[in-house]
């Protein structure tokens, strides 16, 4: 079992004729993902990564029954590409693109309240159900099948934590990178809800970072609704206020909201142990599942 994605998922890749889009479409297919089409304006009728390309996502849905989109479109056009995916009747859209203007995402965020399509990202590595399918840019070989659900705001930190888990034989049900931007589609609470409802997920890792209050909200949600044991990690304890730490969303405000301390203490209060190192996170998961 898994959440959001499995080997029935029918993927259209927006931006499949670009360098990144093509490379990762191929990587996804190699992993076993059912990529059925690409969508690139003006490139309809061509082929890329071995699948037909359409001018619009709508056509890819009509012609190839695509139900999920993975978006590799440059930031200036990615907001529009997300709108296109949300308006095409898909179940899921995964936006990998980093650097989308925040106001574009605020408009997308409004549209999300009007559609049934779920958005993951942007500025995220995607998600993977080991052994079934991956959507995005995660390196498939470090993942292993299992019962640990993982949700993270950061890409490479996810890989680090997954590596620690896999090395100990702790496989993953699904790993979701929700992205490091201030405004994202699926947030911690959404992902925790999915994992809590998934019978095959027996423990959850939640990797947060400084900025915003999503981790605090997640802690409150865990306290109220999540029975599955959760271990946390928060990056950015040493970040100075007012500086954007790589991710557009990773910033402690001048007034001191969004600090690692606040997040760690909220999680601890909700009964979630927070590791000081990625290894310690794996320790907690091992204990949960022992």
């Amino acid at each position: 079992m898994s959440v959001l994605v499995d080997d029935d998922t029918r993927v259209v890749v927006q931006g499949i004729t670009g360098g990144e889009g093509k490379f990762h479409a191929e990587q996804m297919m190699e992993y076993g993902t059912n990529v059925v089409a690409g969508a690139v304006p003006g490139k309809g009728g061509q082929e890329a990564a071995g699948v037909p390309v359409y001018d619009t996502v709508h056509e890819a849905v009509e012609e190839e029954d695509a139900d999920t989109s993975v978006i590799f479109v440059p930031p200036a056009f990615a907001g529009d590409a997300i709108f296109e995916s949300l308006d095409s009747g898909l179940e899921l859209a995964v936006a990998i693109t980093e650097g989308i203007p925040t106001q574009d995402m605020a408009r997308v965020n409004k549209r999300l309240t009007e559609t049934d399509t779920r958005l993951i990202g942007p500025n995220c590595p995607g998600l993977i159900t080991p052994g079934e399918a991956k959507l995005g840019i995660l390196p498939g070989n470090i993942f292993s099948e299992g019962n640990v659900g993982l949700v993270s705001r950061s890409g490479t930190l996810t890989y680090q934590v997954v590596d620690n888990l896999t090395n100990r034989g702790l496989g993953q049900s699904t790993a979701i990178g929700i992205g490091g931007d201030p405004i994202i589609g699926t947030d911690f609470v959404d992902a925790l809800e999915l994992f809590e409802d998934d019978p095959e997920t027996d423990a959850i890792v939640m990797c947060g970072e400084i900025g915003g209050e999503d981790e605090e909200e997640a802690a409150a949600f865990i306290d109220d609704y999540v029975d599955t044991p959760v271990a946390g990690f928060i990056a950015g304890r040493t970040a100075p206020p007012g500086k954007r730490m790589g991710h557009a969303g990773a910033i402690v405000s001048g007034s001191g909201t969004g600090t690692a301390e606040s997040k760690i203490s909220a999680l601890n209060d909700a009964g979630v142990p927070v590791g000081d190192t990625p290894e310690e996170v794996a320790d907690h998961i091992e204990e949960f599942l022992a």
Partner: protein, 383 residues
């Protein structure tokens, strides 16, 4: 990206928000000429990108040439919270009866913009927000519709703004939102928005932060950015040129990695193991050898740095490219300037290990070991 006060005021004034008469000056003569043209009293205000300029001595109200000269001499060239003051704004002193606050920012929790109005302007608004949150009226904006006029009025009436100026303040707020929206603002605020004795409003300060990810479609502001960036930290300017996400810190363990979360984690581990991080440097995804070499150059340029930890977990980034870049950067030295600890994992890490010239670096297998080793080196270097 934060505009200088004088730039933000220009942008606001162009949009029709009343601002005091002012001129930019970079030396004493300039200040005196400007003051004479504007007419005393004037304020002489340091143009640097930090808050609390007034308390730090960066703003002086002057009544005559002598005072203006003194102020100019003391402010121009001063070091203000780490920033060198190159320019001052000489500005008409406004006689006010009230100081308001108006601002627009993105409420990331709600994922939508919020307009704020308070009658407690003229002081640090974040302090007001903490001590007396009721004193700030907030109105969330649906970004698909933009700010409805009634919302501007509602915020103004809810804040308790005097009826005599309510209409003008609403109009300033509406314009401010329009600017924020058109110019890809992150924050736009006027604090204080002064109310004069004849019930006019005037923007005595102006803050405009622009979303850096949107500068590609704001060419005019991108030009201002170039100007605004001057006077900042040299290393941060260099990072801009190299297009790295870089933040300078005060420790002595240099850090290079890929991916914001992993780099932050590396910093945190340096701290955890008793060291002090010197910087945050994210080479981003898929970095090639030359970019890796540039990153090493960046960190070596920081005199505080005593050791470097290179932590790469390859996804798109390939271990062999990283190794090649490290070799290239280090092979040019007769003697390696600071010890470098390398940890490679993920995509092509084995190929990377084969390429890596282990005479030049220390290799560790795990993140924890790599950080601990770099912290040790840094302690030795400092000793």
């Amino acid at each position: 990206m934060k505009l200088h006060e004088y730039q933000a005021k220009q942008v606001f004034a162009d949009a029709g928000i009343p601002t005091p008469e002012s001129q930019l000056a970079s030396d004493v003569d300039g200040v005196l000429t400007a003051a004479e043209e504007i007419g005393y009293p004037v304020a002489v205000k340091a143009q640097v990108q930090v808050g609390g300029r007034g308390k730090a001595g960066g703003i002086e109200l002057v009544e005559n040439d002598e005072e203006a000269r003194e102020a100019a001499e003391s402010i121009i060239g001063m070091d203000l919270k780490g920033y060198h003051v190159d320019q001052v704004l000489v500005e008409e002193a406004v006689d006010f009866t009230d100081e308001l606050y108006v601002g627009i920012t993105m409420d990331r929790g709600e994922g939508k913009p919020v307009a704020m109005v308070s009658t407690k302007g003229g002081v640090n608004i974040e302090e007001v927000a903490e001590e007396d949150p009721e004193a700030i009226a907030r109105e969330h904006i649906d970004p698909s519709f933009g700010m409805h006029p009634y919302q501007a009025r509602k915020a103004v009436y809810d804040a308790g703004v005097d009826k005599a100026v309510a209409r003008d303040v609403s109009s300033v707020l509406t314009t401010l939102y329009q600017l924020w929206d058109d110019r890809d603002g992150a924050d736009a605020e006027i604090n204080p928005l002064m109310v004069t004795s004849d019930d006019e409003v005037i923007a005595a300060d102006a803050v405009m932060n622009i979303d850096e990810d949107a500068l590609f479609r704001q060419p005019e502001l991108a030009e201002m950015e170039a100007e605004a960036a001057s006077g900042g930290d040299e290393l941060e300017q260099k990072a801009d040129e190299y297009d790295f996400d870089y933040v300078r810190l005060e420790g002595n363990t240099g850090i290079i990695g890929n991916g914001a979360g992993l780099v932050m984690t590396t910093l945190d581990l340096v701290d955890h193991y008793g060291g002090e991080p010197a910087n945050f440097l994210d080479v981003g995804g898929g970095a090639k050898a030359d970019r890796i070499a540039n990153a090493l150059d960046m960190v070596f340029s920081d005199d505080n740095v005593d050791s470097v930890v290179f932590n790469i977990f390859g996804g798109i980034t390939r271990g062999d490219e990283v190794a090649k870049g490290i070799n290239e950067a280090l092979e040019q030295f007769d003697e390696i300037p600071k010890p470098v600890v390398v940890r490679l994992a993920g995509t092509n890490w084995e190929e990377g290990m084969e390429i890596l010239n282990e005479d030049l670096v220390t290799v560790e297998q795990t993140l924890e070991d790599a950080v601990q080793r770099a912290v040790e080196y840094a302690e030795e270097g400092q000793a």
